[in-house]
C-alpha cells in the first residue's frame, strides 16, 4: 500500500479521461473542497483551456488581461469551493466566476467600466479586408476582439458559449432586452466587418 503522501501524488482519480471521467471530476472537486492543492491543480489542468478561451474573448484578445481573468476565476473558485454544491457542472461554475472576474475588473476601473457600458453603435475600427486574411477564424476572433465590450460580452456568452439571454442578463445584472439588443448589435457589427 502506498504511503499517505504518495496517495495524494499518485491518486488514480486525477485522470479525467475514460468512462468514469465525470465521477473522477466530482471526486477531484470533493478533494479540492477539502483543501487539497494537488486535486485543485488537476482541476485547473482539466478546465483552464476552456476557461481561458472564454477569458481571452471577453478580454478582447488581450492575453495579459485574459490571464489575469483566468487567475482571478480560479482563485475565486478555490475560495468558493465550500459553497459549490454541484448543482451545476463545475465548468459552468468556473465560467460564471470568469465572467464575474471580468465584471469586477470593469467595475474597479472606470475606464474599463465605460467600455463595458459603451452603447454607441460605432463601426469596428481597423478591420482589415478578409481578402488579406485567409484565416476566417482569426478574422472572426479579431472582429470579436474589436467589438464594443458590452456587445462582445453578450455575443461571446450567447453565440459562442451557448448561454440563454436570460442567463446572461441575470449574471450581468441587466435586462433580457438589453442582452438581446447587444447580441443583435454584435452580429450586425461582425457581419459588417467580415464582409468588408
Amino acid at each position: 500500500m502506498p504511503t499517505t503522501s504518495a496517495v495524494l501524488r499518485h491518486d488514480p482519480r486525477v485522470h479525467l479521461t475514460g468512462p468514469s471521467a465525470h465521477d473522477a471530476g466530482d471526486d477531484l472537486v470533493a478533494l479540492a473542497r477539502s483543501g487539497d492543492h494537488a486535486a485543485f491543480e488537476q482541476l485547473y489542468i482539466a478546465h483552464s483551456p476552456r476557461v481561458f478561451a472564454l477569458c481571452l474573448r471577453l478580454a478582447g484578445g488581450n492575453r495579459v488581461a485574459a490571464t489575469a481573468l483566468l487567475q482571478d476565476a480560479f482563485i475565486a473558485a478555490w475560495r468558493g469551493l465550500p459553497r459549490f454544491r454541484g448543482d451545476a457542472p463545475f465548468t459552468s461554475w468556473l465560467h460564471r466566476l470568469a465572467v464575474n472576474a471580468m465584471l469586477q475588473n470593469a467595475r474597479s476601473d472606470k475606464r474599463r467600466s465605460a467600455r463595458v457600458l459603451f452603447m454607441d453603435d460605432s463601426t469596428i475600427p481597423g478591420a482589415e479586408s478578409r481578402a488579406d486574411r485567409p484565416d476566417i477564424s482569426m478574422d472572426l476572433e479579431d472582429a470579436i476582439a474589436r467589438l464594443p465590450a458590452g456587445a462582445r460580452t453578450a455575443f461571446v456568452l450567447h453565440d459562442i458559449e451557448g448561454y440563454q439571454h436570460n442567463e446572461i442578463a441575470e449574471q450581468l445584472g441587466v435586462a433580457v432586452g438589453t442582452v438581446k439588443a447587444q447580441v443583435h448589435r454584435a452580429r450586425g457589427l461582425l457581419m459588417k466587418s467580415l464582409n468588408r
Binding site: T3, G35, Q71, D159
Partner: protein
C-alpha cells in the same frame, strides 16, 4: 435574393463560423504559478491546507490553535461575530454535551490546562500521519479530512461562544467532548494507517 434572405444567410454563416471557433485555448504555462502562490497564501492565512499538511484542515486547526494558545482577540472577535450572525450554530454543530464530561472544571480559564493537553496529543498524532510513514486509501483520507473539518468547526464555534460566556459549563463540556472526538478519530486513523 431579398435583403432579409441575404441577412439570414449571412447570419447563418456567422453562426457557423462561431461554431468553428476553438473552445479551448491553452493559457500561458506560468498562469498556474500565480494561482498556486495565492492559494498557498490563503492557506497560510488559515483558509486551506498546504501540500504538506494534508491531514488537517489547517484553516480550522491553525485558527483553533491560535485561539487556544494565545487567546487571539482578533480571531475570537471574528468567531464571535460569526456566532452572533448565526445564533444557535454551536448547539447544532457540536451536538449534545456529554454528562459530567468536564468534571470539576467550570470556567474557561480552568479548562485551559486541559486544552493544552488536548492540543499536544492532537499535534503528536497529526505529526505521525504527516510523517509519510502511514498508509491509507485516498477514500479514507478524504473521509477523515471531512470529519476533521466538522470537528474543528465545532471546536471553533464552542470557543467563540465561550469567549462571550466563559463560565458556561455546558459549553465547556461541549468543547471537551469535541476534543475527545477529535482525538479518537486521529487515534483510530493512526492505528488504521499502521495496520
Amino acid at each position: 435574393m431579398s435583403d432579409n434572405m441575404m441577412d439570414d444567410a449571412r447570419l447563418r454563416a456567422l453562426k457557423a463560423m462561431a461554431d468553428r471557433l476553438p473552445r479551448e485555448i491553452e493559457p500561458p504555462a506560468e498562469a498556474w504559478d500565480a494561482v498556486r502562490a495565492q492559494i498557498e497564501r490563503d492557506g497560510a492565512a488559515g483558509r486551506a491546507p498546504g501540500d504538506v499538511a494534508f491531514w488537517q484542515r489547517p484553516g480550522f486547526l491553525i485558527a483553533a490553535s491560535l485561539l487556544l494558545a494565545a487567546g487571539s482577540s482578533t480571531a475570537t472577535f471574528l468567531a464571535l461575530r460569526d456566532r452572533e450572525a448565526r445564533p444557535g450554530t454551536v448547539a447544532q454543530s457540536a451536538g449534545p454535551a456529554p454528562v459530567a464530561a468536564a468534571g470539576t472544571v467550570s470556567t474557561l480559564a480552568q479548562f485551559s490546562g486541559k486544552e493544552n493537553d488536548y492540543l499536544r496529543r492532537v499535534n503528536g498524532l497529526v505529526a505521525i500521519l504527516e510523517s509519510g510513514n502511514a498508509a491509507l486509501a485516498p477514500e479514507t483520507i478524504l473521509k477523515v479530512r471531512e470529519s476533521l473539518a466538522i470537528i474543528d468547526a465545532a471546536i471553533l464555534e464552542a470557543r467563540a461562544a465561550l469567549a462571550r460566556d466563559p463560565a458556561n459549563r455546558e459549553l465547556i463540556e461541549m468543547l471537551e467532548s469535541t476534543y475527545e472526538k477529535k482525538l479518537d478519530l486521529l487515534q483510530r486513523t493512526t492505528e488504521m494507517a499502521r495496520s
